[in-house]
């Protein structure tokens, strides 16, 4: 009798600890001398796997089937990871820390490249054998770490300004705004229309999450500021960065953004735009197809268009997203894996993928492909955006960097600190995080 509550206590405690014991698998590393990430060592042929997020459209399976038909001895298999990007990253990291060869090819988010490369989890790719000239240059840099290529871009992504064409026309505005001031002026005009009643002016993601980092990066890059300079040193406590941050602060303070903005994640923002209650919306390209759906889920189908995001004195600097394929350093059959990566990034596969999923391609030629442009009229705009786009800071401790940015920016936009204070704190914090 006496033992029962105590045993319960012990079991409860053990659960608390066991929850954190998960990272224990890699204890006693160090004996990995052979894992040199040098180029030209991609050898071995045979079956391979592709670790990726959910294959919602089923197109990835089609691509793998096509590959398998042509390469009966180098069969590829898809391993679907959880939906949540951070959980995908966790699983890939667990796989890497146990040096497992289960995953051959990793479908990496662009911001993970530095962390994975620096931890020697990726095999270096031969820069000269991949025809990199055909890719949009900005996308290739997302696969690089310190000038060496570790991942090949297969899809890209960049912010666009969605705007309500119908409302702007009614207000007598022919062109979408190129600057922030033009955007506010357009809002004021639309607000005077009877149709403009209850329509919020602008929204970019400011809920605490990766979207906030993206919004802050776009605002700060558009004013000529940056989080880190070209050499990787933090350089955020500058007048330019302050101007960018103040754009976000004022957009919230002046009621340009809806009050609920700090609780709206990407999907929350999409709902808001699709409900017809939003004039200008900074969003990724995936919204285009969904907001144009004719099944009644969107009230703005056919009523909107996209433009490059505005900046202080002309188009702003959008942020780059997308996914790259990399080869796990611990995988067998790296030569097959390299062939598979080349195959997936080739034009027919990228085109099929873009048509099936609306994910943006990384090959320049596809942006002027007639069939593509017919289906996605925004492609020329998107190409311009990607060419102009900036990456988020490439940091080995990216998880800490993005959290530091979110904390500082969130406090500033919710009025807990001033812009000056937030940037000074962030500069100090980034200093700690990026010094080797």
């Amino acid at each position: 009798m006496r033992r029962i509550p105590l045993a319960g206590v012990v079991a409860g405690l053990a659960l608390a600890l066991a929850a954190c014991g998960g990272g224990d698998g890699g204890t006693g590393g160090g004996g990995t001398g052979g894992q040199k990430a040098a180029a030209g060592e991609l050898t071995g042929r045979g079956p391979i796997t592709l670790a990726t997020g959910k294959d919602r459209s089923g197109n990835m399976q089609k691509m793998v089937d096509a590959w398998n038909k042509a390469h009966p001895n180098e069969q590829a298999r898809i391993i679907e990871l959880p939906d949540e990007p951070n959980e995908q990253r966790q699983q890939m990291i667990q796989n890497a820390t146990t040096k497992s060869d289960t995953y051959t090819i990793l479908n990496l988010d662009v911001v993970w490249t530095a962390e994975f490369a620096a931890n020697r989890w990726l095999a270096e790719l031969p820069k000269d054998k991949l025809g990199l000239d055909a890719f949009l240059p900005a996308t290739v840099t997302t696969g690089e770490y310190r000038g060496r290529l570790f991942a090949l871009p297969t899809t890209s992504d960049s912010g666009l300004l969605y705007y309500r064409k119908d409302l702007l026309e009614k207000a007598g505005i022919a062109e979408p705004p190129k600057t922030w001031d033009e955007m506010w002026a357009a809002c004021d005009k639309v607000a005077k229309l009877p149709e403009g009643k209850g329509v919020d002016c602008y929204l970019t993601e400011v809920a605490k999450g990766e979207g906030l980092t993206v919004s802050a990066a776009e605002a700060i890059n558009s004013t000529g500021g940056a989080f880190v300079d070209a050499s990787g040193k933090p350089n955020v406590n500058t007048p330019e960065a302050k101007k960018g941050l103040e754009f976000l602060i004022n957009a919230i303070k002046d009621g340009r953004m809806p009050k609920a903005a700090v609780t709206l994640d990407g999907e929350g923002g999409r709902r808001h735009f699709q409900s017809g209650k939003l004039l200008f919306h900074r969003q990724w390209p995936y919204q285009y197809g969904l907001a144009n759906a004719e099944d009644g889920s969107s009230k703005v189908a056919g009523k909107f268009a996209v433009a490059p995001i505005p900046g202080p004195a002309g188009p702003g600097a959008a942020n780059l997203g997308g996914h790259n394929y990399a080869i796990s350093a611990f995988a067998k059959n790296k030569a097959s894996a390299l062939d598979f990566i080349k195959f997936s990034a080739a034009e027919p596969q990228q085109k099929a993928n873009a048509l099936a999923t609306s994910q943006a391609p990384t090959l320049t030629s596809l942006y002027s492909d007639a069939e593509m442009v017919a289906k996605y009229p925004y492609l020329p705009t998107l190409k311009a955006a990607i060419e102009n786009a900036k990456s988020r800071p490439s940091a080995v401790k990216y998880g800490d960097v993005t959290t530091a940015i979110q904390n500082a920016v969130y406090d500033a936009i919710t009025g807990k600190t001033t812009a000056d204070q937030a940037l000074a704190d962030l500069q100090a914090k980034l200093g700690e995080l990026t010094t080797p």
């Binding site: 009798m1 006496r2 033992r3 029962i4 509550p5 105590l6 319960g8 206590v9 012990v10 079991a11 409860g12 405690l13 053990a14 659960l15 608390a16 600890l17 066991a18 929850a19 954190c20 014991g21 998960g22 990272g23 224990d24 890699g26 204890t27 006693g28 590393g29 160090g30 990995t32 990430a37 951070n86 990253r89 966790q90 990291i93 490369a117 620096a118 931890n119 020697r120 770490y145 310190r146 809920a207 605490k208 999450g209 809806p258 009050k259 609920a260 700090v262 609780t263 709206l264 929350g268 080995v396 401790k397 998880g399 800490d400 959290t403 979110q406 904390n407 969130y410 919710t414 080797p436």
Partner: protein
């Protein structure tokens, strides 16, 4: 358990030394029979605890070499990971999370107990549709926490049901006291049935005669509740409350799904530990987990010592005199 086996062993009365030997061999048999359990416990509880503690004394992946690669291998740092928790910025975050964890534990367990006991009293009554009420009260407990977190996030979103019903436009899932309230509401909704279930089991153990006797003696409904129901259901209630406390002190999924992992107002100790682990600082994560372990151990020790002392005392008395002495005592008190 050991005593049970001793008592159960047939003792052959052939002199003192023989009896001692048999008792001795009985002890050995008990040890032998218990050893698989102990082995499993050591494997699934002892090892993770110790491995976690060991991990907390090491650090790795600090610093980059000239080519930008992370320096490999782990380094013994003693208690540095612990010292780091209590210094500078991290100390502020730690004490904030510590405060949140404690606050959530006190508020949710208190509310759950009150509501859970009330639910149990309702479920115990005999009335038409009782099975339906019982089942519907248990539904929240059956829903996985992450899912109920999502449900509540819909309810609490800016244009969600909560604001529509209340006629307010509170940003429940932003930072601040509203977020805390949202977490408490969702947590209480989800886990009150757990307490209700255990209390209901306790209630059904109380013999009807005790109530009848009290009624004959002229005790009112309120008196019967305070003097009979509550004292007699206390052992079950205390175990339920203890389990809830252990659970809430480790709370992670609900605030993470409902509000987000990185919001100061709902950050708990497990959130910080998770954040450290997901950024590859396993040593530091293990240190946070160990601190939480110690905190939970202290809380549960105090709880068992201060409130639960009665459970053990009662159990001992019950074993000595197989009569519901405590029950008899209360009845006498009511009668007096």
């Amino acid at each position: 358990m050991a005593t049970t086996i001793n008592e159960g062993t047939p003792v052959i009365p052939t002199g003192r030394s023989r009896r001692a030997k048999v008792a001795d061999s009985g002890g050995r048999l008990a040890a032998l029979l218990l050893s698989p359990t102990m082995l499993v416990l050591a494997l699934v509880i002892g090892y993770p605890v110790l491995a976690g503690f060991r991990e907390s004394l090491f650090t790795r992946g600090e610093g980059l070499d000239a080519d930008g690669f992370v320096v490999e291998g782990e380094r013994f740092v003693g208690l540095d990971n612990y010292a780091a928790i209590f210094s500078g910025d991290r100390a502020t975050a730690f004490w904030n999370a510590f405060g949140n964890t404690t606050f959530f534990t006190v508020t949710t367990v208190f509310l759950e107990t009150v509501i859970g006991v009330a639910m149990a009293l309702i479920m115990q009554r005999a009335f038409r549709g009782r099975a339906f009420v019982r089942a519907s009260i248990l539904v929240p407990w059956a829903i996985p926490t992450a899912i109920s977190g999502l449900l509540w996030r819909w309810i609490f979103q800016a244009d969600g049901a909560a604001n529509a019903v209340l006629g307010t436009d509170i940003l429940w899932t932003a930072d601040g006291p509203a977020a805390k309230t949202a977490v408490i509401i969702a947590e209480v909704w989800k886990t009150s049935p757990f307490i209700a279930l255990l209390v209901l089991a306790g209630l059904q153990m109380i013999p009807r005669e005790v109530y009848e006797a009290a009624q004959v003696d002229g005790a009112g409904a309120l008196q019967r509740f305070w003097r009979i129901t509550l004292p007699l259901v206390k052992p079950a209630l205390l175990v339920a409350v203890l389990f809830r406390m252990l659970d809430v002190l480790r709370m992670f999924d609900l605030p993470a799904v409902l509000v987000g992992v990185n919001q100061k107002s709902v950050q708990t100790l497990t959130t910080i530990s998770w954040f450290e682990a997901s950024n590859l600082r396993y040593g530091s994560a293990a240190a946070y987990a160990t601190v939480l372990f110690v905190y939970i151990a202290v809380i549960s020790y105090l709880f068992v010592k201060l409130l639960g002392a009665d459970i053990i005392g009662q159990a001992r008395e019950v074993r000595k005199k197989p009569a519901t002495k405590a029950g008899a005592k209360t009845v006498r008190k009511v009668a007096a």
